[in-house]
Symmetry: C2
Subunit: 431 residues, 2 copies
């Protein structure tokens, strides 16, 4: 294919006309599809249905240490769940709190507690003139939503292929005491699919924060969410942030989050927090007023189903088998239809839930609007940036998991048509 | 029995000696029993085990409106759960949010949001010099723990037989704009077992708060937790606070809470918030940053099990059959051993989870300490009061549900021995 920028005005006009016709045809198909969120598809949800049989009316409802999970008690989760979640992220069980159904809620609560009560005796953030968070972009819109809700100033940090721009991170964190946190999705980042390199993790661990209550919000949401059977040495590719921070003399600098939302059921899974024992003690001293404890029955259900981390990893292979073809369908279509046109680039992730698509600058909003007009709802353009503002109006998050393969094929064709059409129109407007 | 105050010093000394001997004997039995919390006993937990069979690997996992409960979405609960919880408290489904596993957590979050973001556009409480809550006493220690954690000043309000002293409530609420809330357990109050009279509810509904963001925290924790088969007109004895507030032109003045913690499983039940549609909208506008939604699978499990409010009420009769004998055992022993001695009084509740015991002033701490020394842990004396301070050192909360009847008999005998012994010692010290 010839790059669009080499086309003459006449060629572009002709192309526009045929693309417009193709678009009208797609639109006529009456598509009605919501791909705005990273939701598992029905086939994936079905994979975990055997878990519903694990506990029944005859089940032993005691933990391994004899606690009845049906009654009140245990603020931080049952022992066997601590072990399982510790193994998910490479923590020690004593560093883990296994909590409710939402890691987002745990993150929100960590910030709410810092605002209201302060971290480890430091001034509550709500009493400070200014609190800032670093936000690697593109990133997870709900992270940015939380910080925005609390009136925290968000600073964009560009993402590279091996993680956030660490020169910028170090410069902000080590010099500005108003910088209290950074949002990170270290494995298969949302939406870019980036896995942080060893050097990136080590530079994080060796930060010298100006603020004593600076915390890395390490959202390990996709830690075992591989699309391909990777070799063990590849899986271990991400360094253990808790260990690295300890080595670097910064044991308390990280809050790590994970959940089974995209392993079993979104909303009916189990989420966990892992951090230094000192951070855990600090959090528990405040959390004990908030609740008597999490849903231990659902924790037991999960542990009895998976047995251990190996059972969980085997289960993830079943997910991969369902969603890998969906990712490949999108990636193949993008390559076939847009390859060589020099109007877009996109990520080729090895795991996680998204493909990050970069259109020609100034085109993302228009592309998303065209798709919507034809019945395809994508994540709003700009959503992956603080305040919903993509300075380049370029990034679009593609979430291929929810639709069936058939729907996805139709949607992807529509998408590439819209990308081409909007880009041609932009080029024409500049000629 | 002769009242203790009529005994001579010699008679008291003799009594002390025989009570001390009885106490030593009880102590020798090596009792080890924790009655400090209002926890259901194992037999009660077993009552809900059939619920574990309701959803299995073959179940239809869709709500009545076709939403898959296994996936993300629905911030405020599934429609059929809204209906069920609305019927529990006499609300409209549109006034209900069905949330997670803990009503305490919902209350905490309501206060945290008020502190951080303000209620309906009012100044966030964290920016005010002073915030006060009214606390009917004796009351629920965890309520007071939440307000204390937020640095809210707590004001004791005496409880009468028909609810809190409403003259005092009106005087504070209608005149002091720093008074932002009041804790209420309107049915079978914790620990007194008081049911608010119609007049009390109406006077609540007709408050004219000095603060526009004053809210009644109406913790309807024991709304259907009867110990006896009451007639329908008795059950309906509590007026509907949402309706009364609406009639009185104060539709937004109440947050109502309830849960199935003591209906199915504590910690693995479902909790709900009900309030005016305007309050619900205000809460949702902030909560949408905190979480994607509650555990809808567990909500569906509960609704499918109970079917409707009648199913739930039938289930409560099974609980009553288990715990009524426990309450009666304690009450009969108290009457038999302490009746006529004029050294104590106690509640005779028709529902709820507690017996509220009032010892001779100045004796509660010593009684609880003696019990503990002999292996019986009771709720700490003073726990039912703000800051843990019972000004009379008189109130002790008895929670009869957790122990077996056999254990409870031993524990109650020990308790009355301690009550008598400590009171005799007090009387002797004053002679």
């Amino acid at each position: 294919m010839k790059p669009y920028k080499e086309l003459t005005r006449e060629e572009l006009l002709e192309l526009q006309s045929s693309l417009q016709a193709a678009y009208e045809e797609e639109k006529g198909k009456g598509l009605k599809l919501d791909m705005s969120r990273g939701k598992p598809g029905k086939e994936q949800l079905d994979l975990s249905m055997p878990m519903m049989n694990v506990l029944n009316g005859e089940s032993d409802m005691n933990t391994e240490d004899g606690t009845d999970v049906r009654n009140y008690g245990i603020l931080d989760g049952i022992p066997e769940a601590k072990k399982l979640f510790a193994d998910m992220v490479g923590a020690k069980p004593s560093q883990v709190m296994v909590l409710g159904n939402s890691s987002l809620n745990i993150m929100y609560d960590c910030i709410a507690r810092a605002e209201l009560f302060g971290i480890m005796g430091n001034t509550p953030w709500s009493r400070l003139d200014k609190v800032k968070f670093l936000c690697p972009v593109p990133g997870y819109d709900r992270h940015f939503g939380v910080t925005q809700q609390f009136g925290i100033e968000m600073i964009n940090i560009p993402m590279n292929e091996d993680g956030p721009d660490m020169d910028m991170v170090e410069s902000y964190v080590n010099n500005d005491p108003a910088v209290k946190g950074i949002w990170c999705v270290p494995v298969f980042s949302n939406p870019g699919g980036v896995v942080y390199s060893d050097e990136t993790v080590r530079r994080f661990a060796n930060l010298k924060p100006a603020a004593p209550d600076f915390r890395i919000f390490w959202d390990n949401a996709y830690g075992i969410h591989y699309l391909y059977d990777l070799r063990n040495d590849e899986e271990a590719g991400i360094l253990n942030i808790l260990e690295e921070c300890e080595k670097a003399g910064n044991p308390d600098m990280v809050y790590q989050f994970c959940s089974t939302s995209k392993i079993t059921f979104p909303g009916a899974g189990v989420a966990a927090l892992s951090s230094s024992e000192e951070n855990i003690a600090d959090i528990k001293s405040k959390m004990k007023w908030q609740t008597i404890g999490p849903d231990k029955v659902n924790q037991l259900r999960h542990v009895r189903y998976f047995k251990d981390i190996n059972g969980m990893k085997e289960h993830m292979k079943l997910h991969a088998a369902v969603i890998r073809p969906k990712f490949e369908l999108v990636l193949n279509t993008l390559e076939k239809e847009l390859g060589g046109l020099e109007i877009a680039s996109w990520s080729k992730p090895l795991g996680g839930y998204f493909i990050s698509f970069n259109a020609t600058n100034g085109c993302a909003k228009a592309i998303v609007a065209r798709c919507k007009e034809a019945g395809l709802v994508l994540t709003g353009a700009g959503a992956a940036f603080p305040y919903g503002i993509d300075p380049d109006d370029s990034n679009i998050r593609i979430a291929p998991t929810l639709p069936s393969k058939e729907e996805l094929a139709v949607a992807t064709n529509l998408f590439v048509t819209c990308v081409k059409l909007v880009t041609v129109e932009k080029l024409l407007s500049e000629k």
